[in-house]
């Protein structure tokens, strides 16, 4: 199920990630234990982010329950 970027940001921060705004480009950065994963944000906080992406960030950062919290 897709979500808005603002919700993904909130849930990621609750899971102990830091979320950084970019100085350039369209991707924010979500980071956990030093590992970084880019978040596609080309429509601000209301950017809709699909399930395929959410699964990707879960795999990359070892977050197993992001989807259930969204």
């Amino acid at each position: 199920m897709p979500c808005h970027f603002r919700d993904l940001k909130r849930v990621s921060e609750e899971a102990g990630c830091t979320v950084e705004e970019p100085s350039k480009g369209s991707h924010w950065k979500v980071r956990k234990d030093g590992k970084m994963y880019p978040i596609p944000v080309h429509n601000g906080l209301k950017t809709e982010i699909g399930n395929h992406y959410i699964s990707g960030v879960e795999r990359a950062l070892g977050l197993t329950d992001l989807k259930t919290k969204l």
């Binding site: 199920m1 897709p2 480009g25 369209s26 991707h27 950065k29 030093g34 590992k35 970084m36 994963y37 880019p38 596609p40 080309h42 809709e48 982010i49 699909g50 399930n51 395929h52 992406y53 699964s55 990707g56 960030v57 795999r59 990359a60």
Partner: protein, 138 residues
Amino acid sequence: MSYHQSQLFNAWVVLRPAEDVRGQWVAHCLDLDAVTQGDSPSHALNMAIEASSMILLDDIERGVNPVLRRAPEQFWSDMENLLQQSTQIEASQLHESVASGRFGAFIVQMFLNVQKHTQSIPLLLAGPSTADALQQAH
């Protein structure tokens, strides 16, 4: 494994329509397991180039081997299946190919030059129609 800053990084990207976000295309760089999205295939591809470059630079800066990020085998198998049904097209034909509706998924092989932060896209393969691609995804 160490990386010289000017090393070329070969990456495979699969572009498909998003199943759950209307009007969006998903780009999945399998070598880095980096997923991103855009308003069109070319936008999604540009987003994949940006996201992949960010990951490579960040990993190299931190002394992490980016190859360890490789996507699970299931995604490579899906790409292999798609590849077998694909036709090679020129990168300049991407927009036209999408508009024609003939192809619904694309596989791009890209080479990222980490030092110069530039890239070239020498090979573009177009997969079956959108309906077929979506059917395959289920």
